[in-house]
């Protein structure tokens, strides 16, 4: 059985990240023969030991970006460096340290699990290491299925086989392209545990997803891509702090015609014919909650009674939607 992962506070994890860049993309552009610009002058730096989530809608360029780094896509222009190696000239050294789990369940379905994983290790030029293969298969709960043909496994297990194959050559940088696409909630959470274990082993993980909750749950840093352009890259917490908002709706016992002067210092406005007081402020760090508490005290001090408070913190999804909306407007 695999060892349960050690869940650490995300904040502390971010703090222990090494600033050393292991992937550097500069001006990366890909224009497909039909004229579609899948990547548009992408600059990106990935640091050792982090989990980086690349968020974007379908067709945003996530898979093309991964393909360019992993050798599946020929970039039109730009430079890519992995562990200091230029991918154009030192691709052998660079690729030997990269693992890829593709979005599609692409593998020889007639092959037994163990042989398929051993093949992947050999393909990357490493000598056979049955102990290491066993360790990988056990960590992914595949050891019992080692002699079964991949076609006989469930969808979730097939995806784990792909992860095992990608880990067989002990990569330092692992790309997971939509690792939880089409899997149920339980499997998705299992996959998150696996990703977390990989990070604990020191593997840097870049995952693409269009599940916002996945990025929110897993990532140290988040990049948002749309139309082939990176719109924003930041620490998840910093992004939440910078772009996050608190929203509070206070239902008043008696409607107000106008805002009393005592409340004007708060970012509030009257709604629903003066029956509700709406607060929109804060920065995602808890400042909003503090202001809402202060607001309620101010209401009481002003003799304004209320019957209910409904507060909500904006999620990464709100930020994502807002950014994509702005991008759509400016595009």
């Amino acid at each position: 059985m695999s060892t349960p992962p050690q869940w650490l506070p995300w904040q502390s994890r971010s703090a222990i990240l090494s600033p050393e860049p292991i992937l550097e993309l500069e001006g990366l552009t890909k224009v497909y023969p039909g004229g579609l610009k899948a990547l548009d002058d992408v600059d990106l730096i990935i640091r050792r030991g982090e989990i980086f989530a690349l968020l974007g809608p379908n067709g945003a360029g996530k898979t093309t970006l991964i393909g360019a780094v992993c050798g599946l896509v020929r970039p039109t222009s730009g430079t890519m460096r992995v562990f200091g190696h230029d991918l154009a000239t030192e691709w052998r050294k660079a690729r030997s340290r990269i693992g890829l789990v593709p979005q599609e369940l692409s593998t020889d379905m007639f092959e037994p699990v163990k042989r398929a994983v051993a093949y992947s290790r050999g393909l990357f030029g490493l000598p056979p290491n049955p102990e290491r293969i066993e360790e990988i298969l056990r960590s992914l709960s595949l050891w019992e299925k080692r002699d079964e043909r991949i076609m006989a496994l469930s969808g979730g297990m097939k995806r784990r086989v792909l992860i095992a194959k990608a880990l067989a050559h002990e990569p330092d940088l692992l790309f997971l392209d939509e690792p939880t696409a089409g899997v149920d909630v339980e499997l998705r959470k299992g996959m998150w545990r696996i990703i977390d274990e990989m990070r604990d082993r020191g593997v840097t993980v870049i995952l693409t997803t269009h599940y916002i909750e996945e990025a929110e749950e897993m990532a140290d840093r988040v990049g948002i891509i749309s139309g082939g352009r990176i719109l924003m890259v930041d620490e998840k917490d910093a992004m939440m702090s910078r772009l996050g908002r608190t929203e509070a709706h206070i239902t008043l016992a008696q409607p107000l015609d106008a805002l009393p002067p005592e409340l004007c210092k708060f970012p509030v406005e009257l709604e629903d014919g003066g029956h509700k007081l709406c607060y929109r402020g804060g920065d995602g760090t808890g400042k909003g909650k503090e202001e809402v508490a202060a607001l309620t005290k101010a209401l009481i001090a002003a003799g304004i009674d209320y019957t209910g408070i409904d507060t909500r913190e904006s999620s990464l999804e709100d930020i994502f939607v807002t950014l994509l909306g702005e991008d759509g407007e400016t595009a």
């Binding site: 599946l72 020929r74 660079a94 692409s106 093949y119 050999g122 393909l123 030029g125 490493l126 000598p127």
Partner: protein
């Protein structure tokens, strides 16, 4: 620099794929060759005169060998690279630190090995029907290996070019097999009336069959060195095309 571990992984995996269907892979050529010998060797061959001092049953052995060799080598190699493209598993090869050297030696080497195993099986099967001896066994082995290498490369190109199963089968079915039948498998070019004996020389397979026949019996329709030259030229051309494909990523990388 070639990474031999990667090469060995590709090579052994391809051979495993062959072994998975070993029964079909071995039985089919044995059965086909036996039928050819029964029909052409025993039934018709008994009424045919010796050709160049060689019994007709023995005369057709190099041609039959070439017929199987070209078909099996081309299809093994083309399927070897086409299937990963079709199923998407080629991502693993493309993302690995392997280049044209490892890929070619792995895939083409495996296709060659399969073909040489089949060639040996066919020769053993032929022995059951016809008594024959090989005049230049070393040259025969070298020549068979050269042809297997050339057509493995050709099949590799075919597997990269094809974007559907129809295209994959069309070249061997519509070109290779007919050209082999018309390339002197069952007759000597000298037996053709004019001007067909001259026209037949435009068929490249004539040189291959003739070359192999020379290594068996020491005589052939075409000079042995011309046969070797054409085989080597074809090998070089296919290598050049594959080098270009890998350099540009044509049909391999988006």
């Amino acid at each position: 620099m070639i990474n031999w571990r990667s090469t060995w992984s590709i090579y052994t995996r391809e051979l495993m794929r062959f072994l998975r269907t070993a029964f079909q892979s071995v039985l089919a050529p044995v059965l086909t060759t036996s039928l050819y010998f029964i029909v052409f060797g025993a039934a018709i061959g008994g009424r045919m005169p010796d050709l160049g001092g060689v019994d007709y049953g023995a005369f057709i052995i190099p041609g039959l060998l070439m017929l199987t060799l070209l078909g099996e080598t081309t299809s093994n190699s083309s399927f070897g690279i086409y299937m990963p493209r079709f199923t998407g598993t080629i991502y693993e090869l493309l993302s690995a630190p392997v280049g044209v050297g490892e890929t070619l030696i792995g895939f083409v080497g495996a296709a060659m090995t399969k073909s040489l195993i089949l060639a040996a099986i066919i020769l053993l099967t032929a022995r059951l029907f016809v008594d024959y001896s090989i005049a230049h066994p070393l040259l025969a082995i070298i020549y068979i290996m050269l042809v297997a290498a050339a057509f493995s490369l050709f099949g590799f190109i075919l597997g990269i070019w094809a974007d559907n199963f129809e295209k994959l089968g069309i070249i061997p079915m519509l070109f290779l097999t007919p050209l082999t039948f018309l390339g002197g498998t069952f007759y000597s070019i000298d037996m053709l009336p004019k001007p067909w004996d001259t026209i037949a020389l435009a068929n490249p397979i004539v040189y291959l069959v003739s070359g192999l026949r020379w290594t068996f019996y020491g005589s052939s329709d075409v000079n042995i060195w011309i046969s070797f030259g054409i085989t080597l030229a074809f090998l070089a051309a296919c290598t050049g095309v594959i080098a270009y494909i890998f350099k540009t990523g044509w049909r391999l990388r988006a």
